[in-house]
Amino acid sequence: MSHTSSKLIAGYRGTVDTWECDQMKHMNVQFYSSRASASLAHLLNALGLSPARIREERRALKYRDLRIQYMAEMHVGAQMYGVSGVRAVKEDSIQAFTHLYNAVDDTLSSVSEFNLVYQDLDNGEILNTPLDVLEAAKKLEDPHEDLYCPAPIKSVVMAAKKMEHMFETSRSAVDVWECDAFGNIEISNIIARFSDAASHIMGSVGITRAMQRERNLGSAALDYYTEFLRPIRMADSLVLKSGLLDRRPKNFAFGHHLINCDTDEIVNCTTVIGCYFDMTARKSVPLPPEYSSVPDEKLLKNQL
């Protein structure tokens, strides 16, 4: 590991398992998130929020918003490690990041940039961050200018408001085994729902699985921006509504609203940018022509 600094916290090390790889023959996006969550837990410990303290006080720093970029595919058997750091201590949040690397050649595989807020883990209420945690965060604070930081997202960003032309891409309840010790869903299980939704959105554009196989096309997420608007709790009844936000010559943008069926509230609002790639060459290719056939008025960007 070449990325060492007294202000970088080692947060993850492990291997890509076969059962973490999807039909695109690379690690599915949800498993980047589970690794990033492990790394975040190590960062919190460095800020004074040890597991024992979190269990006792039932409060911790949680993602308010999260940007994820996927930079390089990870294949089965790949060795990975992750580090986390604090970029800035702000008035209302702590801006931090997690980088996941291929351990064999130190290639940056995924970047998570996020803002953390201190929350009651039972009801999601946002609280003042304890002074000792803020002091610890200031000691770790560093812009880390030598480490990659994503530029602003190259897409229109979804808004958390009801829109036309969004349709159901997933319906589920939050299972016990999807949650942490406080009954809150693990982030990887949110990302898993967005991953599953992709096929349904592509289907709405007119691209079937058979067509993808015939054309030797894979698809991959490149960039996520997600906002955590309300707690998602054990047994919550959820519906995911999605739509085509935008299209470009080589990229699509999908918009997602995760909605609590009992309250009808949008609990998570997410933008996903992705691409198609040649499954053999592992290189991106232009969007399939079916995307051009989608009427412009159906693109969600027109409602923002």
Binding site: T15, H42, H75, G77, Q79, D180
Partner: protein, 144 residues
């Protein structure tokens, strides 16, 4: 300690805990699986090497000592070293720590055989690998 490598780092998910309120023993095995795969590249067995040359490892013996429970949310990391080897096997010593308290939670000695993944037969390491194993072998004897 300088011949031990960090081979795994993570945390205990709620979904890995049993009705005793701690990480179930099967998931210590998951840590070992990750750690073994982190050791292999140290002796030249990267994922590419394993795929291209169709040579891998198969665990045949494991001794365990559970020394301290890990609770939900606990942070953990594992360090591992080559405790011994023969022309056809390696034995790896793994130590899993609670990262927040630095207390040893678990240790294990795992012996794995080198095998041909197509013929499914045990085969000897080549000289280069044996030399690498010698350079990495722990200088102290390990027993649980």
């Amino acid at each position: 300690m300088d011949r031990y490598f960090e081979t795994f780092r993570g945390h205990v998910l709620n979904s890995k805990c049993d009705r005793m309120g701690h990480m179930n023993i099967q998931f210590y095995g998951n840590c070992i699986s990750h750690a073994m795969q982190s050791i292999f590249p140290k002796i030249g067995y990267t994922a590419e090497h394993i795929k291209n040359r169709s040579k891998g490892m198969v665990a045949v013996e494991q001794q365990n000592r559970f020394r301290g429970e890990l609770l939900v949310g606990d942070l953990m990391h594992m360090v591992s070293g080559i405790a011994g080897f023969t022309e056809k096997s390696i034995t790896v010593h793994h130590k899993l720590y609670n990262s927040a308290t630095e207390k040893l939670s678990y240790e294990s000695l795992v012996t794995a055989l080198h095998f041909d993944m197509q013929k499914r037969k045990v085969v000897a390491f080549d000289e280069k690998t044996l030399s690498k194993l010698q350079s990495l072998k722990l200088q102290e004897e390990v027993s649980l």
